[in-house]
């Protein structure tokens, strides 16, 4: 890896922040010459890092730009596989598109595509996702689960549980899941998840879980029609969030729930999902491609479909947009 010296250097600097570390000590820890260290420090400064140099004291990190590059994530990652291979772009049409390419080229499970900005962020059925630069988390996780195609939709619910737990751990915000996997705070959307799958009848080649989170977005970033239905973690918490920390927390939670799922199946995920869902027990309307269904949201079935109690009995809903009013 070409950038490993720089990653290591940054890691050492972050670990010692706000203290100084001598050039010799740094070169010993990173395992390269002091000249090489100088060069990499220059490069980091170029990317917006402020590194103070003081004779006899050495170097210290003063300011880190808010980036979600691999070297910024590395010090925070606590996962075994998720996020251990990262493809990072400042700007890309869509992290989903890149992830598809990478998966076809053989990306390992847990590989992640991350961008600071998406110019054609993908939503469901050709819809767009508004992803202004450096304000959110726009990433796509590649999975190769050893499960049947019919079970694969369970992973979209699993993803919402993992992301919900990660965000909650970092921010403490009251974040709820709307079926199947939107995340809402006070009824407004803060995160969307789009899962795409390539496979054959009896085998999944790969799945891509696309996650878009409005983190430091402020309402002036949005067109008028989005302001009523969207929110961000910064708006809700009243403060700026460090995105790399958030990503690391989300990847850790995702890896844990995924491992739990592979070990013991959907049951545990299902109950976690039901605990985090805001709509159970409420009267909702499901807008399905086959028409409207109104009734009380009861629970999930074993595939992750939403069971709605109506006058005609309990109906499993597989595809729908859900509306409900908080009373």
């Amino acid at each position: 890896m070409a950038s490993s010296i720089r990653d290591e250097l940054l890691k050492v600097l972050i670990e010692h922040q706000p203290h100084f570390l001598s050039g010799e000590e740094i070169s010993r820890r990173v395992g390269c010459s002091r000249a090489a260290i100088w060069k990499h420090i220059e490069e980091l400064r170029h990317e917006g890092y402020e590194i103070e140099a003081k004779p006899r004291n050495g170097y210290r990190l003063v300011y880190r730009p808010d980036r979600v590059a691999p070297e910024e994530l590395a010090p925070h990652l606590q996962t075994k596989r998720f996020g251990r291979h990262i493809r990072y772009e400042y700007s890309t049409p869509s992290t989903q598109t890149l992830a598809h390419q990478w998966a076809r080229e053989g990306a390992p499970e847990g590989a992640v595509v991350i961008a600071e900005e998406q110019v054609q962020g993908k939503g469901r059925m050709g819809r767009t996702w508004h992803s202004p630069p450096q304000t959110g988390v726009w990433m796509s996780l590649i999975l190769r689960p050893p499960i049947s195609l019919a079970e694969a939709s369970q992973l979209t619910l699993l993803a919402s549980v993992g992301v919900q737990q990660g965000i909650k751990r970092v921010t403490g915000l009251p974040i709820q899941i709307k079926w199947p996997n939107d995340l809402l705070i006070h009824g407004k959307k803060v995160c969307g998840i789009l899962t795409e799958l390539r496979g054959e009848q009896d085998q999944i080649h790969y799945m891509i879980i696309g996650i878009g989170i409005n983190v430091n977005t402020t309402s002036e970033h949005w067109p008028e029609e989005l302001k009523k239905i969207a929110t961000s973690l910064a708006i809700e918490s009243g403060g700026h969030l460090h995105r790399a920390t958030l990503i690391a927390a989300i990847l850790k939670e995702l890896e844990e729930v995924y491992q739990e799922y592979l070990n013991s199946g959907f049951r545990v995920i299902k109950s976690k999902w039901e605990q985090a869902a805001g709509m159970l027990g409420k009267t909702i309307t499901a807008r399905t491609p086959q028409g409207l269904i109104t009734g009380v949201a009861e629970r999930l079935n074993e595939s992750g479909a939403l069971l709605i109690r109506t006058d005609q009995g309990v109906i499993p809903v597989y595809s729908a947009d859900i509306d409900w009013k908080e009373i």
Partner: protein
């Protein structure tokens, strides 16, 4: 190829959750019949050329015996539209692309986009023919055979069942 244990478990679960009362599938000679009333699953190997393997096609007439009166419930033009589709569905030489899961069938990547394939289109193994969506999982279905699309069996936006035929393909 016979059925794998996890596939059978999966099928039982899916049918249990659905409103399907009876389910038959013919997988390259191995037949599986699941009936809800008795809750029994039976696995039968190579069947003599009797029952067609058209699992889940809209109510095929059980016996080829002609009733004296015209079909009672279906409107005439609807029946006419069904007839060729069924003939084609019963044509054993055509390959069926079936849905791998319960979900909504989409012919195009977006509402205003062109369909992935139309009748008469050439496809190969890797051609994406449609999307089946459930729980916001977009499953791009590949043809898995080389040939020509003869018939699209379901409507855009229709809910499809596990194993339901979606396309008929005349293979090369």
């Amino acid at each position: 190829m016979a059925f794998k244990m996890h596939e059978i478990r999966e099928l039982i679960r899916l049918i249990d959750e659905s409103q399907i009362e009876e389910f038959k599938i013919d997988n390259e000679g191995a037949k599986l019949v699941i009936k809800k009333a008795t809750g029994r699953a039976t696995l039968v190997t190579p069947a003599p050329e009797t029952a067609p393997a058209a699992a889940l096609t809209p109510a095929p007439a059980a016996e080829p015996v002609k009733p004296a009166a015209p079909a009672p419930q279906a409107a005439p033009q609807e029946a006419k539209a069904e007839a060729p589709a069924q003939d084609a569905a019963l044509d054993e030489t055509l390959h069926k692309i079936v849905s791998p899961m319960v979900g909504t069938f989409y012919r195009a990547p977006a509402p205003d986009a062109d369909p992935y394939v139309k009748e008469g289109d050439r496809v190969d193994e890797k051609t994406v023919v449609c999307i089946v969506e459930a729980m916001k999982l977009m499953n791009e279905i590949e043809a898995e055979v080389r040939g020509t699309i003869v018939k699209v069996l379901v409507e855009n936006g229709q809910l499809v069942e596990y194993g339901q035929p979606l396309f008929l393909v005349k293979t090369d």
